[in-house]
Assembly symmetry: C2
Homo-oligomer: 455 residues x 2
C-alpha cells in the first residue's frame, strides 16, 4: 500500500517538503501520498500578511506575525534557494533587502513552478495527532474550517512545519491590568502609523524589538524607550530611541525601571519572543524547547528521537532559514523514500549529544553562525540538495553583523552581496531604507528595473 505522509503547514517548511518530493518524483522516484494541511486560506505561512490580529475568520489563532513595511533584515543572498535563484524568479539582479511582499512572491514562485498546491488542503486545521502503537500508524484528526466537518485519518509519517514565530510569549508586569493604553505583543503589531506621535515602550532585545522600534520612529512615533532584561542591544540608535534596564512596574501610564528612572508611556509593545507550541500533538510526540540552535530530541534537527516517523522542520533558532528548511526537508524526504537510513537510536543520541555539547559552548554571534552553517552543511552532504557556496554565506553573515553594529539605520542600504547560487551581485536600492516609506513590490521592483536599465 502507498505510504501516506501528513505535512502540517504550507509555509516555507511545508512547501519545501512538497517541493523536495516533487523534485524526486520528476526524476523518477515513486513518491508517497502527500497531504498538506494548512489552516490559512493561502500559502506562505508567516509571509502571508494579514491585517487580522488575535483570532482569524474561523476563530483560529492568527498565524501571521508580519507587519506592514517589514523589509528583510538580512541580505536575501543568505536565504536563496539553491535550486531556484532570485535571478530565475525575478529575471535579473535586485537589491539585497527586499520588503516582505517581494520575498512572499519568491517563495510562492518556486511552489507554483512545481504546482505543489494540488497537495494542500487549505482551510483545514489539524486538531490532534497521536500514534497508534497497535496499528503502528498515526491518527490525525482534522477539521475543515468552513464546514466544521471533522475526521480522523491514518498516516505513516507526520511532518510538522508549523513554525515557531506565531504563538507569542507574553510576560505580565505589575500594573499592566490598569495601564490606560494599548499593550500588544509584536505578533499583533501591524502598522507603525498607528503609533504616530505616541510615546512607546518596547520590551525586548532581539530582532523584533530592534526592527519595531526603528519602524515606529521611521513612521513618526514619539520617543521610544526600549527596556531589556539582561543586556541592551547597544546599537547607535537614531535620535528618539534609547535603551533602559528592565521595567519593574507600570503605575497608570508611568513606567518604572530598575535603574530608578521613569517614563510616561502611551503604548507598550512586547517584543518578547515566541513559544514553540504544538497544541495538536500528543504529549509523547510534542517538541518542547525554547528557541535555540539545536533543540533537544531532534536528530539532525529533524527526526523525533522517540519516533523518527515524526519529523519537525525549521524548529531551530534561525540565522539560516529557507536553505536550512530545504536541507531538512530533503533529508526527511530521503528517509521516507528509503534513500537515507537512520542510524540506531544510540548512534542518533550520540550525534545529538555532540551537537548540543558544542552548542552549549558557543560564545558569540560569529560562533553561532559557524555552528548553524556546519549544521546546514551536515544536512546538505546527506542528500542531493544542490550545492551552493555555504562558506560564502558564513562571510556574508559576519559582514552583515558588522554593518548592523556600524549603523543599524543604514545597514539595509548596503549592496554588492554575492549570490551563493549564481554569483550575481546585488544592486543598490533606489532609496535609502529610512526614507523608503512605500514597501510595495511595484515600487521596489519597478524602480529598480528602471534603475538597472538606466545604469
Amino acid at each position: 500500500m502507498t505510504q501516506r505522509v501528513a505535512i502540517i503547514g504550507a509555509g516555507p517548511c511545508g512547501l519545501a517538503q512538497l517541493h523536495a518530493f516533487e523534485e524526486a518524483r520528476k526524476q523518477g522516484a515513486e513518491t508517497p501520498e502527500l497531504v498538506c494541511f494548512e489552516k490559512q486560506e493561502n500559502w506562505g505561512g508567516l509571509w502571508n500578511y494579514t491585517w487580522r490580529t488575535g483570532l482569524d475568520a474561523h476563530g483560529e489563532p492568527v498565524h501571521g506575525s508580519m507587519y506592514r513595511y517589514l523589509w528583510s533584515n538580512a541580505p536575501k543572498e543568505l536565504l536563496e534557494f539553491a535550486d531556484y535563484s532570485f535571478d530565475e524568479h525575478f529575471g535579473g539582479p535586485l537589491p539585497s533587502f527586499p520588503p516582505r511582499e517581494v520575498l512572499f512572491d519568491y517563495i510562492i514562485g518556486r511552489a507554483r513552478k512545481n504546482q505543489v498546491e494540488r497537495f494542500i488542503k487549505f482551510g483545514t486545521v489539524v486538531r490532534w495527532v497521536e500514534y497508534d502503537n497497535t496499528r503502528q500508524c498515526f491518527q490525525v484528526t482534522i477539521e475543515a474550517l468552513d464546514t466544521g466537518a471533522s475526521r480522523t485519518e491514518t498516516f505513516d509519517r507526520v511532518i510538522v512545519g508549523t513554525g515557531h514565530f506565531s504563538i507569542p510569549n507574553v510576560p505580565e508586569f505589575p500594573g499592566f491590568e490598569r495601564f490606560p493604553g494599548r499593550i500588544l505583543h509584536s505578533h499583533d503589531f501591524r502598522d507603525a502609523r498607528e503609533f504616530c506621535g505616541k510615546r512607546i515602550l518596547v520590551m525586548g532585545s532581539s530582532y523584533s524589538a530592534e526592527d519595531i522600534a526603528l519602524q515606529c520612529r521611521k513612521y513618526g512615533s514619539g520617543p521610544i524607550t526600549i527596556t531589556y532584561r539582561t543586556q541592551p542591544m547597544n546599537f547607535d540608535w537614531p535620535e528618539g530611541i534609547e535603551e533602559v534596564p528592565l521595567l519593574t512596574h507600570m503605575d497608570g501610564s508611568t513606567a518604572h525601571f530598575r535603574d530608578g528612572s521613569t517614563r510616561g508611556i502611551d503604548a507598550i509593545i512586547l517584543c518578547t519572543g515566541y513559544q514553540h507550541s504544538f497544541p495538536f500533538m500528543a504529549e509523547d510526540l510534542k517538541l518542547t524547547t525554547h528557541n535555540r540552535l539545536y533543540p533537544d530530541n531532534l536528530y539532525k534537527g529533524v527526526f523525533w528521537m522517540d519516533n523518527p516517523d515524526v519529523m519537525y522542520l525549521g524548529m531551530q533558532d534561525q540565522y539560516y532559514t529557507f536553505t536550512l528548511f530545504d536541507a531538512e526537508a530533503w533529508l526527511a524526504r530521503d528517509y521516507i523514500l528509503g534513500r537515507y537510513q537512520l542510524p540506531t537510536r544510540a548512534e542518533r543520541q550520540e550525534d545529538l549529544d555532540a551537537w548540543r555539547t558544542r552548542e552549549e559552548a558557543l560564545g558569540s554571534a560569529f560562533e553561532d553562525i559557524d555552528f548553524q552553517a556546519d549544521h546546514l552543511a551536515d544536512l546538505v552532504r546527506l542528500t542531493d540538495y544542490p550545492a551552493f557556496d555555504i562558506d560564502l554565506t558564513r562571510s556574508i553573515f559576519k559582514e552583515w553583523e558588522h554593518h548592523k553594529d556600524e549603523d543599524v539605520v543604514t545597514y539595509r542600504d548596503r549592496h554588492g552581496f554575492t549570490s551563493p547560487v549564481t554569483g550575481t551581485q546585488s544592486l543598490p536600492h533606489h532609496t535609502g531604507w529610512w526614507h523608503a516609506l512605500d514597501d510595495s513590490m511595484e515600487t521596489y521592483i519597478g524602480n529598480n528595473e528602471s534603475h538597472s536599465q538606466s545604469a
Copy 2:
C-alpha cells in the same frame, strides 16, 4: 461504577452546574464524579477580566471579552440567583447597574459558598471530545497547559459550558489591509482611554456597539461614527456619536459609506458579534448555530438531540443569563441523577419544533423577552430550582427597554427595581453613570454603603 461527568468551563454555566450538583448532594443525593476543565487560571469565565488580548500566556485564545469600565447594562435584579440573593452576598441593598468587578464577586461568592473549586482543574484545556460507540462513553482528551502533559479520559456525560462570547466574528472590508490605524474586534477592546482623541468607526448595531461607542466618548474619544448593516439603533445619542449606513470600503484612513458619505477615521472597532465555536467537539457532537433564542438540535435548550448525554449550557441569545444557566444546569443535573426522564426522540423533536416555530414568528423585543421568560419557566417547573418571580422580571425587562429608548446615557442611573428573589428595592447610585469614571468595587460599594448609612 460511579458515573463520570465532564464539565467544560468554569464560568457562570460550569459553576452553576457544579453548584446544582452540590445542592443535591447536600440534600442526600448520590452525585457522580465531577471533573470541570477550565483553561484559565481563575474561575468566572468572561467575568474574569484580563488585560491580555489575542492569545494568553499559554498560547490559547484569550477567553475574556470584558473591558475596563464595563458596567452591567441591565438591572442586576434580572440575573439574580434564586438561591443566592444580592442581599445575601452584599449584606444589603445596592444600585441596579454594578460594574463588572462587583458581579464577578457575586458569581464567585456562590461558588465559594459550596466550595466547588475542588472539582475544577484549572489551566487545563479540552483538546478533543468524541463518542466511542463501542464502549458507549466519551473520550475526552485534555492538556495541562503548564506542562503540556496530555491524556485521554473516559466520561459518561459531557456538559459544555464554554460560552459563546469569546470567539469573535470578524468581517473583512476592502481597504482593511491598508488602513493605517488599529482595527480590532470588541473582543480585544480593553480600555477606552486608549482611544482618547481618536476618530472612531464602530461597526455594529447591538449591545457591544452601543456600549463601546458610549464608553469611548465618555472617556474622551474624538467623534464616533457607528456603521450598521441593516438598521441603526436609533438611540438619542449624545453629541459626537452618529449612525450611518454600512461601510463600503476604506481608502487609506477615509471610510466610505453606502450613503455616499465619508469620514476620516483613526481606529476601527468591529462590534460584529461572536461565533458559537467548539473546536474541541467531534463533528457529530458539535453545536452549530448563530446567536438565537432557541438554537437547533438542543432539546429544552440543553440536550443534544442525537446524543443527550452531551449537554450544552447557556447557548441561547440571552436576555436572561445567570438564572437561565441555573435552570438549565438543574435540569441537566436531574437527568444525570435519574430524576428527570427524557421523552422519546420523537417527542423531543416535536417539543423543539414547537419552540422554534414560535421563535421564528417573534416580531419585537417584548415578544423576545416573553419567549425567553417562557423558556426559563418551562425549565424551572421541571426541577426544584427555587421559585422566584419570573413575571416580575418580564416587567423589569420591558421597563428597562423603555428606559434605554428614553435615554441611552442615563438608563443606568435608574433605581428602585424590585428583586424577584427578596423583594428588596435597589438604591440610587451615588454618581450618574456618565460621570462615574472609577469602576472599582471599593468606590462602588464603599460609597453606596456610606450613602445608605447616611440616608
